[in-house]
């Protein structure tokens, strides 16, 4: 079974910094980091006009379906996907088997540049993911739920 993902402020800042740097260095329109269940971890760039929640969910569905196809073919995973549009393109890659890095870019960038910058950012993200795992191992089960009472939950549902 999957374990719960807990993201603290320190790691969140690092992830956002990596996404910001990737957005800048890859000349991208936007960068997203999504977990495999479709929840948004961080984003950077021109995201105001975008439905980021839907984007995260559909990306995760896409990765899940592609992973299913890979298994049918005896592959472990198709780690990279690229979709080319008339104006915008999407580059999707799996990082550390756990999170999905999404880059949206247009003619101001190129697939080569994006792939190059994604490789470096992925290495940095893997290190942060390891920190998150280490923190979770040090502090098993410690979450905000330690402070939430049964009454708080009852109150939420009236």
């Amino acid at each position: 079974m999957n374990s719960q993902l807990v993201l603290f402020e320190e790691e969140q800042k690092k992830i956002v910094q990596i996404c910001d740097a990737l957005h800048r260095d890859a000349c991208a329109k936007a960068v997203f980091l999504v977990n495999r269940d479709g929840q948004m971890l961080a984003n950077s760039g021109q995201t105001v006009q975008m439905d980021t929640t839907s984007l995260a969910s559909l990306t995760a569905g896409n990765i899940a379906a592609t992973g299913g196809l890979a298994q049918l073919l005896g592959e472990k995973e198709f780690a990279i996907q690229f979709h080319e549009g008339e104006r915008d393109n999407i580059h999707i890659s799996l990082v550390g088997q756990r999170v999905i890095l999404v880059i949206i870019f247009d003619e101001r960038s190129s697939l080569g540049l994006v792939r190059l910058r994604v490789r470096r950012a992925s290495n940095e993200l893997v290190k942060v993911l390891e920190q998150i795992n280490a923190k979770a191992a040090q502090n098993p089960g410690h979450t905000v739920f330690d402070e939430i009472s049964d009454e708080d939950i009852d109150n939420l549902f009236g």
Binding site: Q12, S54, G68, V144, F145, D150, F157
Partner: protein, 195 residues
Amino acid sequence: MSFINYSSREINCKIVYYGPGLCGKTTNLQYIYAKTNPEAKGKMISLETETERTLFFDFLPLSLGEIRGFKTRFHLYTVPGQVFYDASRKLILKGVDGVVFVADSQVERLDANIESLENLRENLEEQGYDLDKLPYVVQYNKRDLPTAVDAGYLREALNPTNVPDFEAVATTGMGVFDTLKAVAKQVLIELKRGR
């Protein structure tokens, strides 16, 4: 898999509506979407066939309020109910925090309900989950139809473990929010308990 973000102060959970084809999973989500305040919901996505049957999933992001300063966000998914979409159903169950089984109350769909419930249990087991240990509720939908079977009979056939269950008519909304609240509450209680 729940996701707790201390930076944005959010608790995110995933709930999956499961059940046989045409039992009303999508209708449940459509009713929730229609009756929820705009600020509490995101866009509903339906990946469907040309004949409006679910092809991959429906998705509805929903906020249910705050607990101790943390926003509770639930991502509701449906699976495609038709038997031959089993590979897709398995994918959607990944990372699930709570399950709603939507049963079709009509007598002619009794076997389809049982088959779908067995399929749910098998697909969960394949991913390391045990339905008896997950937050789980059952909904008997289409109670308004003339061929609806007695609820007690459905309970005996589909809910042997006596999890919370609800009679519903998803087209009018009867039982829809009761079902959602019950499973969402179980998910939060389970998270508090610490899996």
